[in-house]
Symmetry: C2
Subunit: 158 residues, 2 copies
């Protein structure tokens, strides 16, 4: 493989996100963490993934500042993994993934849960993208602009 291509230094922010959290397990680990899971064993039980790869993923997420380790909260001498603000910031991505499934999945009847507003218990609205002056935007209403002060001769991609 030579090396799985890394997008760490790509100039596309989508590629950069994918490089950080764009693999199946990382995203699911963060999903569980958002629901309060914090212990190694609990991640392993709920996700059913191999312990070695869980260990690698947790370390990578900690290195990237998405999770942080803390010295236990239930009194035991073990540690727990907690989300940082950066980690909690993944929430909209997970919501977008969920809503895409809900809208386009071939077998929506297999989907077991729906995301609701905690206060009223009613399903949430679809994520919406607005312009600064409040117009609802679709993909076609947007464009990419090079950032100011971008180094020349770097290819602007997306």
């Amino acid at each position: 493989m030579v090396k799985r291509t890394s997008f760490e230094h790509d100039d596309c922010p989508i590629a950069r996100s994918l490089d950080a959290i764009g693999d199946w397990w990382s995203m699911l680990i963060i999903r569980e963490a958002l629901f309060g899971v914090s212990r190694f064993g609990e991640f392993q039980k709920r996700l059913g993934l191999a312990k070695n790869i869980l260990a690698v993923r947790l370390r990578a997420l900690v290195d990237q500042g998405i999770l942080k380790t803390a010295p236990a909260s239930d009194g035991s001498a073990y540690q727990e993994y907690l989300l940082t603000p950066k980690g909690r910031g993944v929430f909209p991505i997970l919501v977008a993934l969920r809503q895409w499934s809900e809208e386009f999945d071939e077998h929506p009847e297999e989907i077991a849960s729906i995301l609701v507003d905690k206060e009223k218990g009613r399903p949430v609205r679809k994520l919406e993208l607005y312009s600064q002056d409040g117009r609802l935007l679709g993909a076609g209403d947007t464009a990419l602009k090079p950032r100011t002060a971008v180094k020349q001769n770097r290819r602007v991609r997306a």
Copy 2:
């Protein structure tokens, strides 16, 4: 490896999305397609990925109804790959990924482009999640509810 674990029949909609488009290249292919790229060679040139894996990914995306093939538009006898509505529905996911990078990346100065509203040329707002009665929701304001008519004894995950 025995087999890379598939989430195709997982009951979590996030896992199901990831199973469909949760790998680096698929997401980036869709990103390019949203910008109008439609030809094999152009995907290959812009993404710089090996042609064999591009072929595999394109086939998978077509099988899943995210892309469809059409018999050329520039007159040549070749075919092109176009997004279906399901494919265009990925847009919010890409926006969410982009915004996460913009907000939390360690080296934001390396990000080359910003997403703007085409009409005014101004940066778009952050994606926002609302309740049905219009309140802005964060991760903590939401909960998961089992779908009605869900088969019993299936574990509700997320």
